[in-house]
């Protein structure tokens, strides 16, 4: 069981959103992408450290998101699972690696879009074109995998954040989010999420991928409604 307040747990960071409601909702939308990007990022860091555990205050963060997001999103199961996680970065990292990073003939679950797309190269090109178009550049050690789930999520976070920070009547970031979601993330993630569920049912990973999948679907619907007519 993961215990709060121990030396291993991360400091609590949740605080009340003080922006106007509209801004907060939009900001929360982007922050959720950032959060999911962090949660799906490889826990093995270039400096040899391991960061696998979610932030200690993840339940509070999720609850906050649920309250503020411009659409309904129930992350209670994920929040509960976060509480139940054993307090062992290495063990969680090993699970991550054996699910998404190593295996034969390849990791059990693809965490990169190009590994599952029939038109892999075309999909990858378009991803990079999106990134270039919006000036999103990867660090050198991550450039080889722009189609990694965590990176794609971060790109959506960037789009959401830019929308939130920019003029509200400039819809280009929302349009790009809508297109990128449907043409990329939602083109491959659902099957991968099912695969995670099949392999490690009831696990943190299943709940995370399931939560992420639902979040993406919710955002897709919200975008469709918001952009109705575009």
């Amino acid at each position: 069981m993961r215990s709060h307040g121990t030396a291993r747990s991360k400091p609590s960071v949740a605080r009340t959103v003080d922006a106007p409601p509209g801004d907060a909702a939009l900001r929360a939308r982007g922050a959720a992408y950032a959060l999911f990007s962090e949660l799906t990022r490889s826990p093995f860091r270039p400096d040899g450290s391991i960061v696998a555990l979610p932030p200690a205050d993840l339940p509070e963060l999720l609850a906050e998101l649920g309250r503020v997001l411009p659409f309904g999103f129930d992350a209670s199961a994920l929040a509960a699972a976060a509480v139940d996680l054993c307090d062992d970065d290495a063990a969680l990292a090993a699970q991550y690696a054996s699910l998404f990073e190593v295996g034969q003939p390849g990791p059990p679950v693809a965490i990169r879009e190009s590994l599952v797309r029939d038109d892999a190269r075309r999909a990858l090109e378009e991803i990079v074109r999106y990134y270039d178009f919006f000036g999103y550049r990867l660090n050198a050690d991550e450039q080889w995998c722009p189609d990694h789930l965590s990176v794609e999520l971060e790109f959506l976070h960037l789009l959401a954040a830019r929308h939130e920070a920019g003029r509200r009547d400039d819809l280009q970031h929302l349009l790009a989010s809508r297109d990128f979601l449907s043409r990329h993330l939602l083109a491959w993630l659902p099957a991968a999420a099912t695969s995670v569920g099949d392999r490690v049912p009831g696990s943190w990973w299943q709940l995370l991928w399931d939560g992420l999948h639902r979040y993406l679907e919710s955002d897709r619907l919200w975008l469709a409604t918001t952009l109705d007519g575009y």
Partner: protein
Amino acid sequence: MNEATISRRRFLLGSIASAGLMLRHSPLSAAEALAPGAVAYRRFEDVYRNKWTWDRVVRGTHGTNCAGNCAFDVYVKDGIVWREEQQGEYEAIGDAPDYGPRGCNKGLRHSAYMYGRQRVLYPMKRAGVRGEGKWQRISWEQAAREIADRIIDCSVQYGPQSISLGSGTQLAVKRASMAALGRFANICGFTVPEFYSGVGDLPSGAYMTTGVANPGDTMASVFKSRCVLVWAANPAVTRIPDAHFFWEARYNGTDVIAVSPEFTPTSMHSSLWINPKPGSDIALAMAMIHVLLSERLYDAPYVREQTDLPFLVRADDGRFLRESDLSIPAALAKRDSVFYLWDEATDSLVKAPATDMPPTAAGRRRPPRGSLKLGDIRPALEGRWKVRTRTGDSVEVTTVFELLKTRAAQHSPEVAARITGVNAEVIVDVARRFAAARPAMIYAGYAVCKWQHGDLLQRSMMLMLSLTGNLGVEGGGLQIGNTSKSGGMGQFMTAGVGPAIRMVSGATFDYETGRMRELNERIYGSELAREYDEYYQESLRRKWFPTYPGKGWKMGIFAGENGANWRASGNAWRKEAFDKLETIVAIVPDLGLTAHQADYVLPVAHHYERNDIMMQSRVPYLQCLVEAVPPLGESADDWTIFRRLTEAISRRAAERGIGAIHDDVDGRSLKRDFTRYLELYTMDGRIRDARDVIQFLINTTPGVPKITFDELAARGMVRLEHSATTAWDDERASYQSEFANSVVRKRAYKTLTGRQQFYIDHEWFLKFDEALPGHREPLRIDGYPLQMMMGHARHGIHSMWRDDPVLLKLQRGEPDIYINPADATARGVIDGDLVRVHNPAGQFIAQAHLSNGMPPGMLFMYHGWDPMMFRGRQNFSSVICTAGLIKPTSMAGGYGHLGHRPLSFAPNQTYKDFTVNFEKYTAASERFA
């Protein structure tokens, strides 16, 4: 239209902070991270409006054993390799066609394959039982530390010879990588089972004949030939960038004659296809030799000067007539290296020029043996004479040529027709065509060497070429693959350390570690098993070949090879040797069976992620691999991996207080101080990375233009020096020019007789009637009627690229086996069925691929399919049971040029002397878990 770019991580962290939801990291101002720009996006097509541009175009090739060495341009954008394109900047050689553009289907898939799911990206440690497929990702520090501890422990407890460092063809052809591996092994004292004989590629018949194991010129020499026998080779499939030389030669009037049991894509394009039954090729060659001799189609002056065919042989014991037979002082001095001719000009016995090999003090270079020029001597080829021996007795002598005539007559075209299935008239016709064409060549595949008696076949091929004066002639000769002069590679491996490596034949290594005598007994019977083993042990006892048994094989490091895949008798070897290892380390770019069974897997960089150089004799260029993108994930090049290991060994030995150990290699006594391994490996820090290794090799390899690696990397390839002709006939060139040395410059061959030596009077050769080549029936397994043959594939280089999804779509998508329709029908099998191929050694399942191109009684499978791609992880190596067939003559020594010569003379691990049967495979016949 882009906004100012921002780095991924920086943006993410700042943005989360600005969202006020997750402040794990120090906040970054939103304004800084989210500077709005003037992007105008409306729909996805907008991202396509900007012209796609490349960040850079880098030179490269594929460092694999395709022997292609094709120069490519590699296109990079945003840190990703997107495509490769053939570089078209090769020039012509004289009037021969250009080498470029060069390339093949595999190479053009690599930019996609390198990002494939098969890729190993991180150091991994086994988490479950071996082969279970459970892995733990670990850091390089942990991997190096734990492996270093195992190396230290094994070295101290069992001796460094208990650790093998297998070098596979994926690594060995990359020269900096091979140099790094060799240096690492030399410093550590590991046993290196050399793969050349291990995969049965060593052309020992060529070596026995000429003292040169690897005859060969450039590919353009094919164009210079007037008749090419493409024998046991399939260049249309296996040498895609170079196959055009054959077809252009045909347009130019060259007779291109394919010799193979099955109808291959090469046969399709040839002037003529002849299809001897599998394993009957020696009879075919000997029959053609019979035609050459009986119709006097041979080049007598060439034969008299260059070969041992005029040498005299005693009729009583079948041994060459030697000086020690004639002179008491010579007998006392054991002077056995002077041989005799019968001079027709004087009708008398004369010493053969350039045969006297004076004794040489240990460590001193042997003086040259004089010229082959005959002067006034006119050696008789035919006849019988009496000579008086030192004891006063009279003994009858005759020539090797006479003995050859008799041997060849036993293989008349009619006899050979019965053995080979090739019509006698066709045999005669081909022999005449071959003899009439000048120059003529035999382009022989390595498959020749994979028969137990492949040496005899190769010796008979050499005979065909020699009788017609075609050895050592541009456009002629036996084309296998010349090896470069040792030069830089050897220097790099041993600099500052001296030679302290334990190199053994892969065949003998497997024989001992895999208990192959027992397999022989089970498959081929106790008589063969006992006899072969007796000779094997006798050879070791006489120290003709080395063995390093120590306290057993404890740790295996497999670098650039998929050793658990390609082994003959793979099942037996895995069970008896591989699975019993205490530690298995696989250093691989992609996950195959060897890695799957390993305890540690270290990721190695692929072709576009590293710097290296490539050379091979068929293409007279130095090619480079250039790091187009950083190694993917946490992979690293071979130099770096071995550096990390030496560093960890030195550090751990110091931390653990482990002192130097005493070692003894081939009589050389030395100390191995673990704490110094890093400084030795890096030459006291002077060699920092692979680029430094490359520069060392460029600077020290003969015939390589002395340029910097940066210059080479800018050009992609440079022409090797002294390669003006299509033959390697210049002594200053990078490759051996032994034939030109003898044929043109009249220097003695590096054989016992100083000649192309077709007669070998070593006691073992005489006992097994192999003094001259002759037909031998291949071994078969009772009750298993079908010969199984294999060959290199169009869609993979060994196991690399074999699992590429696009290339699989061009095939049947899974391992398939070619079957003659009549054989299939007899077993109720139709095309596409699964079949179970089996014999007493094992079984595997593959898809039936019916083809009229297969002769009845033969199955054919393109090789390289990894066991992981088969049901039950059993591939063809489970039915190949030939690893124990180390024929006695291949272990012969104490005879001039015969004896342990790594990469030149060693027993081959052979792959063909076995048979199988098959049946339809259904769920009901399920035999695998």
